[in-house]
């Protein structure tokens, strides 16, 4: 009788299959058998190093034919007669090379991460829902679909993505799906809108309203004006200083009771926004006119600074149809070329940093949150239930009250762990909720022939407002800060505002012609680097999270350069000169009391003294300077500002305050009985910084590049370190034109020389394939880190037999 042994062996075999068909916890989060099966698992993602990408595809959804030529860098050059077909092919290619990131990023935008990784993402998801991300995307989509051009493009794009998804066998799923054990769902137009809203939050979602409101309990509005000033002394604005502005067409009226119930109200919200976007998100762009270039043709440059990631946020491509021939980078997730050029013009963006997100305190009638007090009456809120699916748990429903301002983001139910917040309800007013059709701008920009076309195109852009740089073959250059920005009365929206009074709402929007802009200036260049766009002569109150020093360096360089070549522009992109240190270092060296320093501390002071002010990879002085300054900054602010949730004034505010007056009142450490001078604090700061610096020196990581340790993480961050590119050999840093920090920096560097035959260069820290098993996954990273560029092949229809067209994919309708 062999039934016993049979059962035993069947149970072992079945048990093995069962165990290897499910995740094993944190170390092994994937079903290991399926994951390692050569015919189903990750081995299928090991792309052959001489993979042949050539294919003839037949599918539904196309109107005609399309051809895609892939060059040796795997950049596709799409040729289609019909605009819809080009968008279809773009969607297909985005999905073929970047499907997982497209879905992951839009899941993140929509607050759907719990679906993938479980309950630990619930607070994150609720933040997204409560900010109204889906609400914003729905509002946008209505506008996009109401316009026949953008509707056609987006419908085709979505069809292209889904054609690819439907053709996928399980064995061909991207590695990350196999790793996290889930499958892609179909793409929708809403997901593209969500992608744009995710970028919008990244670029126009960062505000200090809550910490400043906390600070208002301890400081007067006048004191906070000094700590957080609107116009820095060393500002080199986008619109040159001294420009005369026309009187404003909108003069918002400050409510009569603003001083008592708003500006000087002593009341704390005891809350800091969860998941604030990175304050370093920013960019450089500029254009120089033919009068300043060697060739006589304009040159346009752009390098958007974002969190560096693999797969990259960008996908490089060219799209040629009967109405356009645009080359540049696209966002996997939306149709069109986002930063690039065509036969006639080039365009690029930096973030405006303007504050377009304000909070209002709401008083509900009762716990049901159905009614709130507004203009002396109880007004009905619109209740919006948000269903959040959680992996391995029951669904969670978060019902959010919508007011005239927008969603009540924070209330008694959220955030759950902030006890002191129970009595407060804060509604968020955010430009990103307003109906808009950002895709329409790119539709026109990709097809623009001249300044008038650019001027027409950019009017459709609402949020996140951008500094849109432009140059044309005809010789025009321009920059325009464009977006829908509220006309605010002085100090409006700096703090949480009363939510019961209509007078505190935004009263209008600044017309496009009054937004800061420069067109064909006599100086021969335009530029932006996230600085305040205008000096104090500008007639509107424009709070924002501005930068300063990059713009200062760029304008100085561009001003002095003549006979400019693209190589000069590459040098400027890669410029590691530290203008911030140039202004701050003399203060540290002047006020350090050498007589009180030990030998080690003296050595560090000497490192800073002998440093060339350049943040190159090998500079130890750069690390010593930065560590000393960071220590100094904490000593100056932490004693006074700890009560205000440690919201520190910017570096520039500190430098400028000390340059004006070394007896600046915040210098003294208020926690000690004696009064400290600047000499004391600078010296103590060095003493505090020295042990850390000595340790770094011992560990051989004192060199600036080793200290900052530039790393490009995979989108799954530290849980997928083998997919990252750590410890890159690159200098640069915060406040420096080459803005490469630890994991943040130039995410695409482009130089376009608008000669008759366009000469263009580009590079981004990633690769065209999102597959960690492809050699094209990170193939541009070393070139990027070395500060080098690829010469862009701007293909024309006559080049189809050129050897540079390495592979060809044809798309035909069935």
């Amino acid at each position: 009788m062999r039934i016993g042994p049979f059962l035993v062996s069947v149970i072992i075999a079945g048990g093995l299959i069962y165990a290897l068909n499910r995740p094993w916890g944190d170390k092994v989060p994937m079903p290991l058998g399926k994951f390692l099966s050569p015919q189903f698992g990750i081995w299928q993602n090991a792309e052959e190093s001489d993979n042949d990408f050539t294919a003839d595809l037949k599918m539904e959804g196309l109107h005609g034919k399309a051809e895609v030529f892939l060059d040796e860098r795997l950049v596709p050059h799409v040729f289609a007669e019909d605009d819809g077909d080009a968008a279809f092919v773009q969607g297909y290619l985005h999905a073929k090379f970047r499907l997982w990131q497209m879905e992951f990023q839009t899941h993140a935008a929509a607050g759907r991460v719990s679906e993938i990784i479980g309950e630990r993402a619930l607070a994150y998801d609720r933040t997204k829902r409560r900010l109204g991300m889906i609400f914003a995307a729905e509002n946008m989509l209505k506008e996009v679909e109401a316009n026949p051009n953008t509707k056609k493009i987006l419908d085709s794009y979505t069809a292209g993505v889904n054609t690819y998804i439907n053709s996928l066998k399980e064995s061909q799923l991207p590695v990350e799906y196999k790793l996290l054990n889930y499958k892609p769902e179909l793409w929708t137009n809403l997901k593209s809108a969500l992608f744009i809203k995710q970028m919008t939050e990244t670029l126009a979602g960062s505000v200090d309203d809550l910490p400043l409101t906390n600070a208002r309990s301890f400081f007067s509005d006048d004191e906070l004006k000094v700590l957080f000033p609107q116009v820095p002394d060393s500002l080199s604005p986008i619109v040159p200083k001294g420009t005369v502005f026309a009187p404003p067409s909108i003069v918002p009226i400050k409510p009569a009771d603003a001083d008592s119930v708003y500006l000087e109200k002593k009341d704390t919200v005891q809350l800091v926004d969860l998941y604030q976007p990175d304050p370093n998100n920013g960019s450089n762009n500029w254009a120089v006119a033919g009068s300043k270039t060697k060739s006589g043709a304009p040159i346009l440059c752009n390098d958007p600074h974002l969190e560096l990631s693999l797969p990259s946020i960008w996908y490089e491509m060219q799209m040629t149809t009967s109405t356009m021939n645009a080359y540049g980078v696209s966002f996997p997730g939306i149709p069109g070329i986002v930063i690039g050029f065509n036969d006639s013009v080039a365009f690029g963006f930096t973030n405006s940093q303007r504050d377009v997100r304000d909070y209002y305190e709401i008083k509900f009638k009762d716990g049901s949150r159905q009614q709130y007090w507004f203009d002396s009456a109880w007004k009905d809120a619109t209740m919006r239930p948000e269903l959040i699916k959680i992996k391995g748990k029951p669904d969670y429903i978060d019902t959010i009250a919508y007011t005239v301002f927008g969603p009540v983001m924070y209330d008694k139910s959220f955030p759950a762990d902030t006890i002191s917040f129970k009595e407060k309800n804060l509604a968020v007013r955010w430009s990103a909720h307003d109906p808009s059709n950002e895709l329409l701008m790119w539709y026109y920009l990709d097809r623009a022939k001249n300044f008038d076309d650019y001027h027409n195109a950019i009017q459709y852009f609402t949020c996140p407002s951008q500094n849109m740089v432009f140059a044309s073959k005809r010789g025009e250059i321009a920059i325009w800060q464009q977006g829908r920005m509220p006309a605010l009365w002085d100090r409006q929206g700096v703090y949480v505002m009363p939510g019961y009074d209509n007078n505190y709402r935004w009263q209008g929007y600044i017309p496009m012609e009054e937004n800061p802009h420069v067109v064909n200036p006599a100086s021969g260049f335009v530029s932006s680097a996230n600085q305040r766009p205008v000096d104090s002569a500008y007639p509107y109150f424009i709070p924002g999270k501005y930068d300063l020093y990059r713009g200062y360096t760029i304008n100085k360089r561009l001003d002095s350069l003549q006979q400019i070549t693209p190589e000069d522009m590459m040098k400027l992109h890669n410029e590691n000169y530290n203008s911030f240190a140039q202004m701050m270092r003399p203060l540290l060296l002047k006020y350090v009391d050498e007589s009180k320093l030990s030998a080690d501390e003296k050595k560090m002071a000497d490192l800073v003294r002998n440093w060339n002010l350049i943040n190159d990879f090998d500079e130890k002085g750069a690390t010593a300077y930065q560590t000393w300054f960071d220590s100094f900054e904490v000593l100056i602010w932490s004693d006074e500002l700890i009560k205000a949730k440690n919201l520190y004034p910017s570096e520039r505010t500190l430098v400028e305050a000390l340059l004006r007056d070394s007896a600046f009142k915040y210098v003294d450490d208020i926690t000690t009985p004696q009064k400290e001078s600047l000499y004391d604090i600078v010296t103590i700061a060095l003493k505090k910084a020295t042990p850390e610096l000595l340790k770094e020196d011992n560990d051989n990581v004192l060199a600036w590049g080793k200290h900052k340790n530039t790393t490009i993480y995979h989108l799954l961050r530290t849980s997928a370190m083998p997919f990252a590119r750590p410890s890159l050999h690159i200098g640069g840093g915060q406040h420096i034109v080459n803005a490469t920090q630890h994991s943040h920096g130039p995410s695409w560097k482009m130089i376009v020389h608008l000669t008759d035959k366009i000469e263009a260069y580009g590079v981004y820290p990633g690769g065209q394939s999102g597959n960690p098993g492809s050699k094209y996954y990170d193939s541009f990273v070393d070139q990027w880190a070395a500060g080098k560029y690829y010469t862009i092949w701007y293909m024309h229809a006559g080049d189809k037999l050129d050897k540079k067209a390495k592979w060809k994919i044809t798309f035909e309708k069935i």
């Binding site: 075999a13 299959i17 390692l36 050569p38």
Partner: protein, 120 residues
Amino acid sequence: MKFLTATILTALLSFIAGIFMPIWWFFAVVALLVALLIHQRAGKAFLAGFLGLFILWFILAFWMDSANNGVLSVKIASLLPLGGSKWALVILTAILGGLIAGFSAMSGSYLRTSGTKNNF
């Protein structure tokens, strides 16, 4: 001879099943059927099943990895606690396939002995 035939047949049919069947563990059914068809004692059946899949998965993984220049295997072998060794990953792959197939084949062997013991 029986042993070699069973081993090769398990490998070959498992490979074909992997192309046409949408279930990653279908080779377990294959190994069981082969053991039913080509009857051997349980230990030998196990070994034939184990070797069949071990060899198939080893060759497939090794071959795909070579074509890929180890770009992916090194990363996965770091993600899993395998110290970044692609050889460890290839061998782990082969062992997992081998174990499942081995016990499945063993079951097939016992099934035949239990069902048809009077005929031999």
